[in-house]
């Protein structure tokens, strides 16, 4: 029967011609300089105040410890600070600057912050339009009356979506590095960064900690961010199959993602919230040893939860799309 490759070519071409990806690039090209500028101001500020990065870290540790003695700070927050103190001490003892200002550390920091909200939003701009876009324009009638099985059409769309998600992650990295390098210099690829912190309650187990060069760290980060983004993509495709309008589809997905971010920031005592997909999106946090949003979450746990969500989204998408009546 008809080959899948031309179908994938069609879907990729349509997203391209719709200029969705150009919008993503434009957003990145506007926002990254803004963040770079903010980062630069911060670095200048610190340079004025501190002789070198060591005294800056010592000051930071002192601040955290002060906060720990205060009665007004809730216990969950104290836990987070105790972990931070231990990590910073580790960096200090090993004489490694955790935030040396250069294009590579900036890229690392940006990816880390972008993975829960910013990259998912970019993914939604493509994923939420996948099926609803064809429905609202009516072109789905042309598409589905051709002698091609429906699962093949959805599969082609899925491949195109994953292709653009990958492209989004790569462009984010490249633009981040290229733009911030103008201000911070392009070095830093081989500076070490520590990974492998294991968090047990309020204690950091540093027995598994090892230094990796920044380039490797960023590769790992990009891989994890890609996985999070693909899961968001699969879920947005499912919503796009179920909901007729693109706007409704974007709003639904945005609401769940933002809800997840809020829940993670509440240092939740609600244990079962860890099964919500959007609470698990910050996979990169496990690399640098930030405390997880809910106690007991590990990288494998989060990958597993996201994987199950993705699988369910796929089953529902294909199950519904191949059977549903096209009435509008």
């Amino acid at each position: 029967m008809s080959n899948l490759l031309p179908l994938i070519q069609n879907e990729t071409l349509k997203i391209w011609k719709k200029k969705r990806f150009f919008v993503i690039l434009l957003i990145l090209a506007i926002l990254i300089p803004i963040f770079t500028y903010a980062q630069m101001r911060m670095a200048e500020n610190n340079k004025d105040k501190f002789a070198d990065w060591r005294s800056q870290i010592i000051q930071q540790i002192a601040d955290y410890q002060n906060a720990l003695t205060s009665d007004r700070i809730p216990e969950e927050w104290k836990k987070y600070r105790r972990i931070m103190v231990q990590q910073l001490t580790y960096y200090l003892e090993n004489d490694v600057d955790p935030s040396a200002p250069n294009a590579v550390t900036f890229t690392r920091g940006f990816m880390n912050n972008a993975v829960t909200l910013f990259i998912p939003l970019l993914v939604l701009s493509i994923g939420s339009d996948l099926i609803s876009g064809e429905r609202s324009s009516g072109t789905i009638k042309m598409l589905l009356t051709r002698p091609v099985r429906r699962w093949k059409i959805l599969f082609a769309k899925l491949v195109a979506l994953i292709f653009y998600i990958s492209l989004t992650i790569i462009s984010t990295l490249i633009l981040c590095y290229a733009i911030s390098g103008i201000f911070f210099g392009y070095g830093g690829w081989n500076l070490p960064v520590f990974t492998g912190f294991v968090i047990n309650g309020a204690e950091v187990d540093s027995s598994g900690v090892h230094a990796v060069p920044h380039w490797l760290y960023i590769m790992m980060q990009a891989g994890l961010a890609w996985f999070s983004a693909v899961i968001v993509g699969l879920l947005s495709m499912m919503v796009s199959v179920l909901v007729r309008s693109t706007a409704a589809s974007i709003v639904t997905m945005m609401a769940t993602i933002i809800a997840g971010t809020i829940l993670s920031n509440m240092a939740s005592a609600w244990d079962t919230a860890k099964y919500i997909f959007s609470v698990n999106l910050q996979l990169t946090g496990y690399l640098d040893g930030s405390p997880p949003p809910i106690e007991g979450m590990t990288m494998l746990f989060s990958i597993g939860v996201l994987g199950v969500w993705g699988l369910i989204a796929l089953i529902i998408s294909f199950g519904v799309f191949t059977k549903q009546d096209i009435l509008n």
Binding site: K17, T139, K141, M142, T145, R146, P147, V148, D325, I326
Partner: protein
């Protein structure tokens, strides 16, 4: 697996054969019972008012909606079970000709050509020429007028050299010139051996374009037959314009094959009646007109005009349902 066409009563293999189609949506029956056959090379009309189930039926023909019961066979293949084989030789436009506005006409055709093997650039050029769009084919579709989108839609439908072309309300939104062109175009395609399935809510349009017709109302097919049987003969009026109206009325009322109709008894459009002042409205047994004309003339009554006028669609439905007792 048989590739041979489904056999109809007449013995010719039907291109499209619909049997006992039923559809329930949200607990409500939208289509009660639809059956008909479309034969090779004929222009088949699908006539019904808005909301009668035309579009729902068409969507079931092309696998956009799954029927609750019944089956659709195209070229011998069951559309629901083997959509890839059945739809290979079908071109269709469901409701409006919807194409991707952010691509050019040519890119749209390329897109749909890629969905089926064996359609090359040569064929795309051919269909562009058939619909006469060579001038604007590389412009973005969002700059096209409705008529041009219609042509592009037809070009897309013709890409795979279909044996059956399904057009849903094709004259909607076209100006009189466009409608005339479309009519000629449809005839040309039929002359080349293609079968066409055309839906409409306009009686006159079906009369002008089609060979056979199925009439649908309230989700039921009321009748299937040639346009002549169903519309021209069964339900048309004969209007007389004469120089001595009283004498003519007196004479006509005596004849057995003539039924005289008063104002209000017939369903002829007011606009038609205004154009024919003082016309005598009658219904006449088929084939009796020449005899009646002779009688009028020999009685010294001068005949200015005799013409057949079609009833409105509503009245046709009424006539068709009266006999069968379905309301």
């Amino acid at each position: 697996m048989t590739t041979e066409g489904y056999r109809t009563d007449s013995g010719a293999a039907a291109v499209l054969s619909v049997e006992g189609l039923r559809k329930r949506i949200k607990g409500k029956w939208i289509i009660h019972d639809v059956s008909f056959d479309v034969r090779p090379g004929e222009i088949f009309g699908f006539l019904g008012p808005n909301g009668s189930g035309k579009t729902t039926t068409i969507r079931m023909l092309v696998d956009l909606i799954k029927p609750t019961a019944g089956k659709v066979m195209i070229g011998g293949y069951n559309v629901q079970k083997q959509p890839e084989q059945a739809l290979r030789h079908v071109g269709c436009i469901v409701e409006n000709p919807e194409v991707y506005p952010y691509m050019s006409g040519w890119e749209n055709l390329e897109h749909f050509a890629r969905m089926q093997p064996g359609i090359g650039e040569e064929r795309i050029r051919e269909v562009v020429e058939i619909v006469g769009m060579d001038q604007r084919i590389h412009d973005k579709v969002k700059t096209y007028s409705l008529g041009m989108r219609q042509r592009l839609g037809i070009a897309q439908a013709l890409l795979a050299r279909p044996e059956l072309l399904i057009l849903d309300e094709p004259t909607n939104g076209l100006d009189p010139k466009g409608i005339k062109e479309l009519r000629e175009f449809v005839r040309m395609l039929a002359a080349e051996g293609m079968s066409l399935f055309i839906s409409s809510h306009l009686l006159s349009e079906i009369q002008l374009m089609c060979d056979r017709v199925a009439i649908i109302n309230g989700g039921r097919v009321l009748a299937v037959g040639t346009v002549n049987e169903l519309i021209d003969e069964n339900a048309s009026y004969v209007l007389w314009q004469v120089d001595q109206r009283e004498q003519a009325v007196a004479l006509l009322s005596k004849l057995g094959e003539v039924t005289l109709l008063e104002q209000g008894d017939h369903g002829i459009d007011d606009a038609v009646m205004t154009a024919l002042p003082d016309a005598i409205v009658t219904t006449i047994t088929p084939g009796a007109i020449p005899g009646i004309v002779q009688k009028l003339v020999s009685s010294g009554i001068g005949i200015e005009a005799v013409q057949k006028v079609s009833p409105t669609l509503e009245e046709l439905f009424l006539k068709l349902t009266e006999g069968e007792g379905i309301v």
